[in-house]
Amino acid sequence: MTHQASRPTIDPITLEVIRYGLISTCNQIDANIKRTAFSPYIYEYNDFAVGLTDIDGRLVAQCTGGMPPFVADSVGTAVRDGLKIYGLDRLYHGDVIVCNHAAVQGQHLNNTVMYTPIAEHADGTGKLIGFFAINVHWIDIGGTMTHSNDIFMEGLQLRTVKMWSKGEPIEEVYRIIENNTRLPTELMGDIEAQLAGCFLGRSLVSNLIEKYGADTFRTAIDIILDQAEAAARAHIRALPDGEYIHETWLDNDGEGDQPIPIKVKVVVAGDEITVDYTGIADQAKGSINSGYHGGGLTTARVAFRYLVAPDEPANEGLFRPLKLILPMGKILSADPTAPMANYPMPFPTVIDAVIKALEKALPERVTGGHFGTHSGFRLFGRRANGRTFNGHDSGHGGWGACATHDGSGPYRTMAHGDTRLIPLELQERLLPFRIESFSLRTDSGGAGKFRGGLGFEKKYRILEDCLLQTNLDRTNHPAWGVLGGKDALSGSVVVVNETTGEATSQCKARGEPLKAGEVVILSTGGGGGYGPVEERDLALLQRDLDEGYVSRAAAQNTYNVAVDEHGRVTRPA
């Protein structure tokens, strides 16, 4: 805030009107993309983000919805690469640039940022003043369908490539993209939506600039970023200084059977927070890697936002007081050639670990761990009529309890947002199985003063032979409790053959054959508890019993209470 004196002044109300206007613009483009996109990744999973950067590629405003991992300035990184490669003198009004490169974004190659410069005047004249950018999960960019050994097996890389130049599309680039995807209709449709969103966003921002003038607009941006920074610093100052550590392990990287260490250190000092990932696993053979920006910075920022500043709009200023220590060559700072197809796999655990580390520093904000694994569940094969099928499903699990209430869920992980599960009635119509039950999993939430949320149990009766692929982790280190709360149950995938009575665990299946008549049981983990069990309000525990969230045996054994023949709970003196 030290530069404020030398800067031209702007009255605080005009500033607010511009701030509201910018966020509202991003949200309108968000609505527009959902309306015009082809693929369910966008309109069902919200796998995209809309943002505005200034002329230096600093994130100024972003849409309020979207996937959490995109909040960490995924769009700004791409813009800054464009500035590095082209320089401002080779970027023009009417250019449209795309980038999905592993060295830049460091995520799977589907995540592709598209952006276009905004000039001082709506007609494109005047100096460039910023960029309107949209990151969209491209539905398919080629590459292997199963597992990969390096990034080159994962599809087409576009490093800062102009798709439009000075208002004209470059047909060669379109041709390259269209011929390197399995789903050209869908992808080209999504690209149209992304492009239209960039242009509409540019024109809405231009209107604001015209209304208030370029100088006022630039000043407003500086102040908006500084205020976000000041807000973040004020939040951090309220935390006790100290070093906070947590260490846990993922089951494996999907290739070998070695546990993957996730050790995080968080240092709070004055009004800054440093996240230190030095103790995290080295780059893996399996495709669970991500780059420094797309993995390390992203997870640190998501955790920061969850804990410190959930209500502050995301922008570059907000993250200024957050420092990262991360040597290169770790799973969160992998070489750009490393396989990254399954890049977000460690994210929920890493974010959870940062939260756990801060349990003493932020007792009012932290939550017990969440089930924390993508729990991918895919059945595929060929129907009797020869048609192939490919059904992606996934597990939703319990979330951790907090200082004021029990954990919630089942929801998807912290690396997901507004992602809905697929209706059973739709699944039964499209795929050769019948669901026999879909229930909350009693006792799966960790005990505590507040109980963790429950996972679910879903029973699939297989009706035709098919193949199973799964990706369920954290079976050895389930969601932990915080501040004395207990751990939750972990998830599992079990295939049961009722005639032989055989049951096999299949948490990382890679095309395991299933026979008609077999049953697959997908159980998801719960969330961790908060605070000691002795402090649980008996009325809440009574309700848990009455509603069947906690069994009688668990109440007696875990909560150390007596339960009489009418099911009434009492705490022995």
């Binding site: 109300i13 607010e16 996937m67 929801y411 947002g417 209706p423 009635e425 039964e428």
Partner: protein, 687 residues
Amino acid sequence: MSYAVAVDIGGTFTDLVGYDHETRRVAYTKSATTYGNFVEGILDCFEKAGLTPDQAHHINHGTTLVINAYIQRRGARAALVTTRGFRDILEIARGNRPDPFDLHYKRDEPLIPRSLRFEAPERIDTFGKVIEPLDLPALDALAEELRAAAVESVAVFFMNSYANPEHEEIAAARLRERLPGVYVTHSTELTREWYEYERTSTVAANAYVGPQVNTYIRRLEEDMKARGFTGPLFMMGSNGGLLSVDRTCRQPVSLVESGPIGGCIGAGAYAEQLGFKNVVAFDMGGTTAKCALVENGRFNVESIYYANGYIQGFPIKSPVIDIVEVGSGGGSVAWIDGQNRLHVGPRSAGSTPGPVCYRRGGTEATVTDANLVLGRLNPERFLGGELTLDTQGASEAIRRLAEPLGFGGDEGVLRTADGVLALATVTMAGAIRQVSVEHGLDPRDFVLFSYGGGGPLHGAALARELSIPMLVIPPAPGNFSAIGMLLADARIDLSKTFTGLLSAEVIGDLQDAYAQMETEAAASLAKEFGAQDVFFERHAEMRYLGQRHNIKVPVEQIGDLNAIRAAFERDYKRRYGHSDPNNPAELQALHLSAFARQDRPDLKNLIIDSEVAATPGSRPIYFREKGGFVDAAVYQREALAIGFRADGPAVIEEYGSTSLVGPDDWFEIGPLREIRVHCDRRQGEQK
């Protein structure tokens, strides 16, 4: 004398409009809503209007009863009966977290707790085939459990019942028989579309309000009959149509947006008669502002609604008008955060304590306080003089915001008050852009139709913000929702899941399906409204083969494959900007709306003439663009005749509302006595 009467019971006021088709006399009144016994408020309105219930030919009634029961959780002790293995569907929901950065996010509790959710042995597969028969002895045993649990209502949901409702129907009939006095409802009597969570949630919601709505409506009917009312009572459905009492009692969930719907119907009727193709209906009240699109006199009806909002709430599969709501109303609180940034809303001071100027103990500045400080409201004539506003108090409250922002003195108070309105305008404009952008439309092609207590005061600023050239303010904007209810048609919506490629082979099935729905709807309208003339609107949910996102396409000629295909291509192109003539199209669901037109009042007669002097007064009003206070003409609405025109700045006062015309705008009185404010003159342009 025989009056058509509409009664709209809202959170604060009960509004009544009466219209005599012979004498063309119209009456408006407002009375405080009487909690505990709503009928008292209605009778009070009759009395104020100089009417008695026996003079009412029929009564159209809208109420916020159902939505309030959901939000305040004051419904019945309801139970849910599902297919074995599926009682938790209601609680698992769709597993999404609509607010991604809320680490402590929690969805509202399900309406029916787990201990009152039961399972019955039965199973039907995806094609409607019975896999496991319904176990009747088990069901009878379940009935005993339900009796022991002392439930007041039961919702029945079975898996795949959309494909074959037989088990649900048998189970519901059996439970009704075994549990006299208990309200029993099943999912497929409410919707025949797939998706188990949405159907379960809908039937649970229906059971939750069933007993209460039945009691309320029967009592209202009796009370009105006891006072001489002999005509029919119709309820205002969220689809914009009237519902018979019997249907409402079976499907009370259809009343969920019964309150705000009136204004949209009214906007549609005015738009149609005035020849406006595209209209944004904008309603600003005390706590929120709502907006909806009206195209060619028709508003858009969504087939899913989230009670208490998408973020926290639960879905109801029922046709509900598509309304976007934002937390910006007259009572929205202005506040300053830790970084000295000014915000407006979404928290509201509501009606108690209300804005500071109401003198009911409010201490935080609101939008209404800002309007008062800037001279836009007349402190002596608020609600026809029923409330004298405290300008001094409002000004002090704004001053408390102004000083930390660095705005000193009286000038600072004005600048801050103006800023509060500017921020409210940006928020409301965002909502309007959202409804139009989501449908691929440009707000500049619309007329802004503004009503509610605050709509006419803020409409012109909004129109300018959105570059909308014209603002229209209907007669009695403060009672406009009740007026709209007087203009409603009888309407029944039916829908069903219908999947298949759009091809010559399915045309026969399509015709059969529509014919069946049409027969059913026409019979219902004949029975419930004595309707002879019924007209239909058909829509099909369609998409290209392999896609997962449907669009709703009007189906005009059911037998004409090419016409259906062409309509799909046209609407697809409007929404996505392109289409793919070579790709086959799939059908996903069919929707039928059946209408029976009721007698409508002549819109020309909806303003009460009075003897008010036509010579305007004047008072100073603050306009920032003019650098301060400017003398504005003050008109009484009743005195303005058709064809009158004048330049702004001006205010037009009437009971329950004030319209503001900016200094660069001009206005005229249109053929239906509506105020038309023209906002498209550039600043400083020659008048």
